[in-house]
Amino acid sequence: MKITIPMNEQKLESGVCPSFGRAPYFLLYDTNTNESKWTANNAAESSGGAGIAAAQLLADSGANTLITPRCGENAEKVLNGANIKVYRSVDGTAKENIDALIEGKLQLLSEFHAGFHGHGG
């Protein structure tokens, strides 16, 4: 599996970021090689549509699984189109979440909140 997780810090021992679209980094963890790759999330800078842009980033990253506490319905559409399975994270570090996923202890994320929208005005 190629698992991706939104993170505040570039450490496997850090907790999962509460925001998906505006997380500063995304971890990409390959369970075959146990290698971690860190990508800065450019989408965090967007005035709007951050979830969509972040999801596009992940779609391009080769990830097939996402672990996150929450996700908007717009981002979900993109992730779905890219065949990325979305699981709900639990309390704990990124490493603990990865282990939980491998052990089949995580649940699929079933609720997606309404999309964020940019400008307001």
Partner: protein, 291 residues
């Protein structure tokens, strides 16, 4: 008395100060009038006017429509879109309509000519009559990014060469929707509360109307005994105080039931009538001093 009917915009720095109270009651006191509710995210004026047989029109904007047969998946549209309204996954394009700002850029840039534009409803404008007032209410659909297209549509409802005064109930704050609402106003009424919050927010709209060079005056609402920081602001910045509405539980009760005080109560009919006259005089004075 004004020579030509006025377009008066009523604004405040934040919600809940009495913008709707003032604009609705001024329109009611004016007899024949036009009332526009530009607070399209949370319009409330119609709750007071209860217009008869309202007719609804859809307000639409243009959004892209992608022909998936022609689309090559080149992603120029995704890269261009400043609002992230487009994504391409598995070679297929996805459009997010409510994030789209209708700029037309993707249709312009698509090298395969795969993007056309189509209408998308973003809100409604409903028109009805309440007594002698023509009531126009703008509503933005939940989830839409910008109320500006609805406000533009509303402003188009102002009869040209009209004989009746127009009252515009603006959105709260000083963001772009407010700027759009006051664009065509002859005069701006700034409503303020007697608290430090009220004065702070009054300062914000004061800055806005000054920037746009609109003639303006203030109405102090919910006045009670004691210091009034908003009044102090007006005195310091030479903002004409057009009227004071005292804090009155009776007015609060009428208002919270959705009643128009100027229609139900003699005292308020007179209060808003005088306020209207004062606005007319002040606007005329400003116009004269400009020429």
């Amino acid at each position: 008395m004004a020579d030509k009917p006025l377009t008066v915009a009523v604004l405040s720095g934040k919600g809940g100060t009495g913008k709707t109270l003032v604009s609705v009651n001024l329109a009611a006191a004016a007899g024949e009038a036009v009332y526009l509710d530009c607070d399209v995210e949370e319009p409330n004026g119609h709750l007071f006017f209860k217009p008869e047989k309202p007719e609804e029109e859809t307000v639409a904007v243009k959004i892209p429509q992608i022909d998936t047969e022609l689309c090559t998946g080149c992603r120029k549209c995704v890269e261009f879109c400043a609002f992230h309204a487009l994504a391409v996954v598995g070679g297929h394009p996805i459009l997010f309509g409510e994030v789209c700002h209708s700029c037309g850029g993707c249709a312009l840039l698509c090298p395969a000519g795969a993007i056309q534009e189509t209408d998308k409803a973003v809100g409604t404008v409903s028109s009805g009559r309440s007594g002698h007032v023509d009531v126009f209410t703008g509503r933005l659909n939940i989830g839409e990014a910008s109320g500006i297209p609805v406000i533009k549509h509303l402003l188009g409802k102002i009869p040209s060469g009209g004989e009746r005064p127009v009252f515009i109930d603006c959105p709260p704050g000083s963001a772009c929707a407010v700027m759009e609402s006051i664009k065509d106003a002859d005069f701006c009424v700034l409503v303020a509360e007697p608290t430090v919050f009220g004065a702070h927010n009054l300062a914000m709209v004061y800055e806005l109307v000054t920037l746009f060079r609109k003639p303006f005056g203030a109405v102090l609402n919910k006045c009670q005994e004691g210091e009034n920081p908003s009044e102090a602001f007006c005195l310091e910045h030479q903002v004409p105080i057009l009227g004071r509405i005292p804090f009155d539980p009776e007015l609060g009760a009428l208002n919270s039931e959705g009643n128009i005080a100027a229609r139900e109560n003699q005292r308020y009919r007179e209060l808003f009538g005088s306020l209207l006259e004062r606005i007319g005089k002040e606007a005329q004075h400003e116009a004269a001093s400009d020429s």
